[in-house]
Each structure stands twice: as C-alpha cells, then as structure tokens.
C-alpha cells in the first residue's frame, strides 16, 4: 500500500441503492450497512441484534441474496440493489409472506420478524415449494428468542401456497410467469 494512503482513513461511500431508490450518503466504506440504513436513512425495520451475523435480525437482500447487514461494510454493497423490509410491501400490498406472518400470528415481540421475513422471501424466491427440512436449514441463522419457530415455518408454507396459487392463476390467464 502506498505510504500516502493512510489505512485509518478508508474511502468514503456516497451513494447506495435501497428499495429501488438512489440515496446520497456519506459514510466510511467500513461502516456497517446496517448503521447506514438505520442511522442515516432512517430505515429502522432492519434490527441490530448481535453485531456478529449470528441472529439474523439485520437481514437484508443484496441483489436478491440474504445478507447480514451488521457485518456487511457499506463499501461492499457498492452499486448493488439493496432491499430492506420497508421495500417488501408493494403499492400498499403486503408480500404473501408478510400476510402469512399475520395470519399465522408468527410473532411475539416481533423484533426478529423483519429479518425472518427477509430470509423467508429469499428462500421462496429460490425455492417456491420448500419442505419443512429445507425451511429449517435455510433459516437456521435467524434467532427468535420468543420461540415462535413452528409458526414461522407454517407461515413460509402458507406463503408458498399463496404464491403458487396466484402464479397458477396468472399462468391460466396466459400472463407471463
């Protein structure tokens, strides 16, 4: 590394893309994405739980993949598309998994809920009909201290069924899949 680049002053990040919008920010590249979302953009749906990527409360999607924003430096997000819980609801319509969380009452204190939903949304995108074992495997990194796990599994199943039904209906009408 050239001597002129002091390691204690990392590059600054000035823009990120969150929930389809472009945001101007000013943060050191090593600032956690979670802190930028919460403290600079006031997108507080993503939660701080542990700071070491162990609990999943901070989960966001980066280019569609679930990532722990508490251990993701904002510099690593680059120009990628970030989706937070605030961007899952579309035009006032809840995502089928959000709706399923309500219908299954899959929460108690609900502090883990946004991270659970983000992980579940990613799962359903990659696997529209997950088995119990696949849900458990995929979501093992998310902690619910209140112990609502069985209802969360039920909510993922319910949302999967909902997505299949509407996809089937859309297919029947000859719309694009």
């Amino acid at each position: 590394m050239p001597a002129s680049q002091a390691p204690e002053t990392p590059a600054r990040i000035t823009e990120i893309h969150v929930n389809g919008a472009h945001h101007t920010i000013d943060a050191a590249a090593d600032t956690s994405l979670l802190s930028v979302l919460r403290d600079q953009l006031d997108l507080t749906g993503s939660k701080f739980g542990c700071g070491e990527g162990q609990c999943g409360a901070c989960t966001v999607l980066i280019d569609g993949n679930p990532r722990r924003s508490c251990i993701t430096p904002v510099g690593a997000a680059g120009k990628k598309q970030i989706t937070t819980i605030e961007g899952v609801e579309q035009n006032g319509r809840l995502h089928p998994l959000q709706q399923a969380f309500l219908e299954e009452d899959a929460m108690q204190c609900a502090y883990c809920t946004s991270g659970m939903i983000m992980t579940g949304v990613a799962l359903l995108k990659s696997n529209p009909s997950p088995s119990d074992a696949q849900i458990v495997e995929y979501m093992q990194g998310n902690i619910c201290r209140c112990g609502t796990y069985p209802r969360i599994v039920a909510a993922v199943h319910r949302a999967a069924g909902q997505i299949r039904t509407s996809a089937g209906a859309a297919g029947a009408k000859g719309e694009s899949r």
């Binding site: 609990c55 819980i85 204190c109 946004s114 939903i117 998310n142 902690i143 609502t148 069985p150």
Partner: protein
C-alpha cells in the same frame, strides 16, 4: 348486554394471594399520586367520558358513602387509581394502563377484555401503555399478573363505562335503563328501535366518574370476544418494519452514547486519560465518579472515542468462577432474613411432621443434589434508552418492564421532582424478566445531561451479556423416603440461592421440610421468566422419577398416586392426564437411546405438565428432543391463540436452559458474551411441539407467560434417563452432548 345490575359478580383475585413476588421483585410502592384536576383532564384527554377505577378499600377510605359511584365530587381525582378508560366523541375507547407489551401479547388480550365488557367492537379499543405521565402507577409487568389483575381491573372499568353510557341514554330518552341494550358500540332501546352510538352519547360531555372495583363482570362462560383467538394488534406495523422500538427512535440533534466498561466485575478506575477522546470533533466525554461515557453525532465516532480512552483498572481478586460457583454458594449461606413461604429470605423453613419419622417409615430412601447454571435472558432487543432534557424536565424512552421503577431510579439519580421525569415504553423486543432495572436509562440521561443534547444509548450484545443481570445459579438438595408401594413419607428440600418460587411440593407428604437459603453470589442476578420454579421443578421432578423407578411404578402412575385429593391436586392431575392422553403416554415403549419422560408442577395459579420424547445419537452424543406435549391450565382462557403461542414459545425457550445454555465466567469476566459462544435454541432444535389448553371457564384467569416453560427440562431429563440409564442432575444437561 343485559343492563341488569344483579348480574353475577365474579370474585376478584386477592392480590395478597395472587402476588407471590420473587425476592428480586419486592419493590412495592404506593399508588401513583396523580395530581390532575378536571380542567387538566379535559385538556389532556379531550371531551368525552372517563371512568377511573379505585380499589375497594381505597374507595371506602375516601368516605364516598353517598353511593357506589362517586361523581367527580371534588375537583381532584383520587390518588389510588389503578386503571382508567376514556370514550371520546367519535366513540373511540382509549384505555390507560401502566403495563407494557414485551411480546406476551397483552395489548391484544387486554383490548379483548375491554371490548367484552364495553360491548364495543374490538377495533374501537386502543391501549396507552407504560407511559408514566399518562397511565396510572403500576409496579411492573412481571410475575404473570397482567391477565389476572390488570385484566380484571380493566374489565371493571369497561363494565362501569358501559353502564354510564346506558344511564346517559336512559336519561336522554327518559326510560328505565333496564330496558336498554348495549351492543356493538351502541345503546339501543328495543321497544322503540332508537339507538345512539357511544360516540353520540359521549358528545359534548366532560364527565369523569370514579368507580370501585365491584361492578359485575361478564362471567367467563358468557364471553363472546375474550376466549377467542385474536391476531396481534398492530401486527401490520411489525411485518412491515414500521413499528418503532426504542432503538429505532431518533430526535433532532440526537447523539449516540457509549459507556466505558471495566475490565472485570468490581474493578475501579486506577487511572484515566480521556484527552484523545475529548479532542475528537463533536465528542462529549462524561465522567461522574466511576461512570465514564461518551456521546457523539454518529455511532462510529462514539465507538472510536470510547476506544481512544485510556483506562487502567484496579481489579477485585479472588472471584468465583462458573466451575467453583456451586461450592461457593453452599459455603456462603446468609443467615437471618425475613422468613416467608418456603423459607423466603431464609428465615423460616416450611415444615410438617417429622423427617425422622418419615424416613423411619420409609422402605426406599433417596438423597440427591441438583445444580442450575447462571443463564441470560438474551432479549433480541438489547436494552436501549433515549434521553432528552428540557431544562429540568427529563424524558426517557426505554424498553423496560417497570416504567415507574425506572422513573424512580431517574428521579433519585438526578434529584428530580417525580413530576419532572417521564418514562415511556414503546412495545419492546422482549424481556423475559431481564428488563426490570433502569441503569441504561440512567446512563443515557447522564450522557444527555453532559452533552446538552438528546442521547440514545444502545447496549452491544456483549454489554447485554455482561452488564445486565442473570438468572441465579443454584444448588438444590433433596432427601426423600417412601413406602414399598410408592407412597411418599418424607421430603426434605433445600434450595441455595436460586429462589423460592415453586419450591413447595404439590405432592402429598406427611413429613416435610422445605427451605430456601439465600447466599452470597458472584454475578448480578435477578428475575427471569419462571425464575426459581424452573430449577425447583427440575430437581423435584427428576427426583420423583428416580423414586418411581425404585418403586417400580410407571412415572405417571407414581405421580398421580401421590397427588392429594384437593383442588390443586386435582387441577395438576387434570393437566397430567391431558398431556399424557395427547402424547399417547400409555402406549410409548422406550428403545435403546430413545425414551419418554413426563413432569409437571404448579406455580402462580397455573398448572403444567409436559411429556417429552428424545433420542440420543450414540456416535455424536447429540440429544434430540423429538416431540413435546404440554398441557396447561390457568383458569379461563382469554386468547387461545396467544396462549398457545406463549406455551409453545415458552417450551422452546426452556429447551435452551434445559440442554445447553450456561454463562461461563472467571475472574470477574464473562467468557462467552456472544451469540457465537452462547447457544440459544434455533430452528433445528425445535421438536414437534403441541399445546393442550385445559380451559376452566369457572376459574378467573391467571397469568401464562411463565409457568408453561417449567416442566420441559425435567421431562427431557426423565426421557434421557429412561433412554440411557443416565440421570442428569445439572442444568444445562448436555452442553457438550452426552456420552452413552
């Protein structure tokens, strides 16, 4: 509603009996001295009708002999208010309670109770909770008391409000109130077909009435709103991320705080250099005695400033470790104390008959020692406070189970007048008994005072694991005897440090000696969901299982045989039977490394029994809980869906303490203060879990947040013993797997 005032009057649970505070919860305070006159009241609440509840005794002392209800006779609202409710001109009903929502779903179940008694739509009810300026004094949200006490009180207030609305309509129409019907937010006069909504009846009024807690309630077997599943109030805000927990709050000009922590417990500052931190732009350093903290415009700057402080600590030598703690507790019994149930405070053991006689009569005897480790609550929302000063007025938002207790801590810390401190509790990311204290609020307020700006202080996970408090570790010794046919004759039970909750045996034993021994203890300890009952039931039910084996009786049959034929015995018998039936206990046969266990108990008006099925992988030593069925009875069920969620969630949380959760410590340091080092239950740990609700509509509801988790640990331990022949007497049982 039938406005017939002679409707059944339900017994109100006597607080002295219902409240069995842990010694850590003895913080009783007089009711809030609420200085609000009628003009203030209208200013704050707006026009409409307000109903205030005072307890019966307090009411009598006021000399309100003129009638059952007082008008708002004097201008001053009485001081002993425990709940109130307001109906505005739009018919919106707002209920004020000092209880807080921490995931146990009382915002929903209390609204159900009010809707029931108001005969109003569930959606028209809103609760203002845990705000020391707006809600009546409340001791705190713990001890499983929200449903039995606050639920009943709010029912009384709501019932009275409904009567008042009916009376207004009766006067307006000049008819007898008895012919009117209140339903669905309206009062109707069936003979004429006229009706007025609650909003119309409240319009233009500034009426406040004080009522005693004796109004008749809708009996449990007539409930139409309570007793049915109801989805979480404001659920949509939680699934969209809109709900603001304390860590999500922000104020203009707000700074982020951090606190300098000692290297170890009990360490004091030997030398301190904060000059580098102070030189950082925007950073405020606050030192006040041994409290040192920083506040900065961004969290990253606060962290850098904290790291820039150079401190040397004088440490406290010779502290016990997690491997020596049990010997330490036994060797450091504190004598004296105030006495009480099961030797509460260590003064008076509970005893009956003679242990000598009981052991002489016994054919089988058993001595055994059990231990429980320190564990942590690990609420997913770390404790957080946002503090703001406006001259001498202090406002703090914080996630706590005791808003009024925290207000008092703030008042004392800053020598403020009570009315200049306001604490507000946003619905909080869980607590489990871990959020009773106000140190985070005090620290945030101290930093805000120093910085002259609002400060938010959020604990890191390491701080939460280290500087909060723990469920007490404990040692339990049991000596017992029984006849050849398996009838208990002697029962001696000593609990060192972990606590007296659930210490008494529900089984009939003629000769018994039961004592709780407070000791000195190495870690800061306090309340925990279920607290000592988890430890006491683990020890007792593990011991009972070994006795059943000695008597060559089926574990369930042995328990049922020894239960007394009284009300409590029969209620416990009923949950044992319900759990066993659902589980298929009678037909389950163990095989190698695959077993079944049962355990049960009673505490805080709840009765629980759990059956568990486990398997052990002999290669890896991993213990897998395959299935758990828990039957629970706490009187009449208010919200079956919420109750199921509590029972199953409690069982899953209980798995952690049963199998692997333990705080490791040494030399005043926590060695595993991270989720990567402290294992909590995750998706893969979850067994097939079932809850059986035993709904006793004839019994006033008790709380349900704690008792359901108490029987899972011994049920698992008993299943392990059946599967492997190994009796595990330490919680957690298999932190490193099981060698078979």
């Amino acid at each position: 509603m039938s406005p017939n005032r002679a409707a059944e009057i339900l017994p109100v649970p006597e607080p002295e009996i219902a409240i069995e505070p842990e010694r850590y919860e003895l913080r009783s305070k007089p009711f809030y001295n609420f200085e609000l006159d009628r003009r203030d009241f209208v200013k704050i609440f707006g026009a409409g009708i307000a109903v205030f509840l005072v307890t019966k005794d307090a009411f009598a002392q006021q000399g309100e002999s003129g009638g059952r209800r007082g008008g708002f006779g004097g201008e001053q609202i009485p001081k002993e208010i425990s709940a109130w409710l307001h109906v505005n001109e739009d018919g919106a009903i707002t209920v004020y309670t000092g209880k807080v929502e921490i995931g146990q779903n009382i915002r929903t179940s209390l609204a159900q109770a009010v809707a029931e008694e108001m005969h109003a739509p569930f959606q028209s009810i809103a609760l203002v909770m845990g705000d020391t300026q707006l809600t009546p004094f409340d001791m705190g949200t713990f001890g499983s008391r929200s449903t039995p006490q606050m639920g009943t009180q709010l029912r009384h207030v709501a019932s009275a409000a409904c009567h008042i609305l009916v009376d207004i309509a009766a006067k307006q129409w000049n008819v007898e109130p008895t012919r009117l019907v209140a339903a669905n937010g309206k009062v109707t006069d069936p003979p004429s077909g006229r009706s007025l909504s609650y909003g119309q009846l409240a319009r233009g009024r500034a009426l406040a009435q004080v009522i005693p807690d004796t109004d008749p309630l809708v009996p449990q077997d007539k409930w139409t709103i309570s007793g049915k599943p109801m989805l979480k109030v404001d659920g949509r805000d939680f699934v969209t991320g809109k709900h603001k927990y304390t860590p999500d709050l922000k104020l203009p000009g707000m700074l982020y705080g951090r606190v300098l922590r000692p290297d170890s417990f009990g360490a004091t500052i030997a030398s301190l250099d904060t000059s580098a931190a102070q030189a950082m732009p925007g950073v405020t350093v606050v030192r006040d005695g041994d409290f040192v903290g920083v506040a900065a415009p961004e969290p990253q700057t606060a962290e850098k400033a904290l790291a820039a402080i150079h401190a040397e600590w004088k440490e406290l030598p010779g502290q016990p470790s997690s491997s020596t703690v049990y010997d330490y507790l036994k060797a450091n019994v504190e004598t004296g104390g105030q006495g009480g149930r099961g030797g509460e405070g260590g003064g008076r053991p509970n005893s009956a008959g003679s242990m000598d006689a009981g052991l002489t009569a016994a054919q089988h005897k058993l001595d055994a020692t059990y231990t429980v480790a320190y564990i942590q609550h690990v609420p997913l929302e770390p404790r957080t406070a946002l503090a703001q000063w406006e001259s001498e007025k202090l406002t703090v938002w914080t996630g706590t189970q005791r808003p009024f207790g925290v207000r008092d801590e703030l008042k004392d810390a800053f020598h403020l007048d009570e009315k200049n401190v306001r604490v507000m509790v946003p619905d909080t990311g869980s607590a489990y008994g871990g959020k009773h204290t106000g140190e985070c609020a005090v620290a945030a307020a101290r930093l805000a005072k120093g910085a002259g700006r609002p400060v938010k202080l959020m604990y890191t996970r390491e701080e939460e694991f280290t500087w909060a408090y723990f469920r007490p570790a404990g040692v339990i010794e049991i000596r017992s005897g029984m006849t050849a046919d398996g009838t208990l004759t002697a029962w001696e039970f000593h609990n060192y440090n972990s606590g007296s909750s659930g210490i008494e045996t529900p089984y009939a034993v003629e000769n018994q000696l039961i004592a709780f021994h407070p000791t000195k203890y190495p870690l800061r300890q306090g309340s925990y969901r279920g607290l000592a009952a988890t430890a006491n039931i683990f020890a007792r039910e593990s011991h009972m299982d070994d006795l059943a084996k000695m008597a060559q009786l089926d574990p369930l049959a042995f328990r049922l045989k020894n239960l007394p034929n009284d009300d409590a015995g029969n209620r416990l018998r009923a949950v044992y039977q319900a759990a066993a039936d659902k589980f298929g206990w009678a037909t389950q046969k163990p095989t190698a490394n695959h077993g079944f266990g049962i355990a049960g108990g009673t505490e805080k008006g709840g009765f629980v029994a759990t059956c568990a099925e486990i398997s052990v992988d002999p290669a890896s030593g991993e213990v897998r809980v395959i299935r758990a069925v828990t039957a629970f009875e706490c009187g009449a069920v208010v919200n079956p869906d919420g109750l199921r969620n509590q029972i199953i969630g409690g069982n899953i949380m209980g798995l952690g303490g049963a199998l692997f959760e333990a705080i490791q410590f040494e030399n005043g340091r926590i060695l595993n203060p991270k989720l990567s080092k402290y294992r909590v239950p995750r998706f893969k740990d979850v067994p097939q879990t079932e809850a059986v609700l035993v709904d006793r509509r004839d019994i006033v509801p008790a709380g349900a947040g704690e008792v359901p988790l108490m029987a899972i640990a011994p049920a698992i331990g008993n299943a392990i013993a059946q599967a492997t022949g190994k009796r595990l007497r330490a919680l957690p049982m298999v932190p490193n797997g099981l060698k078979v």
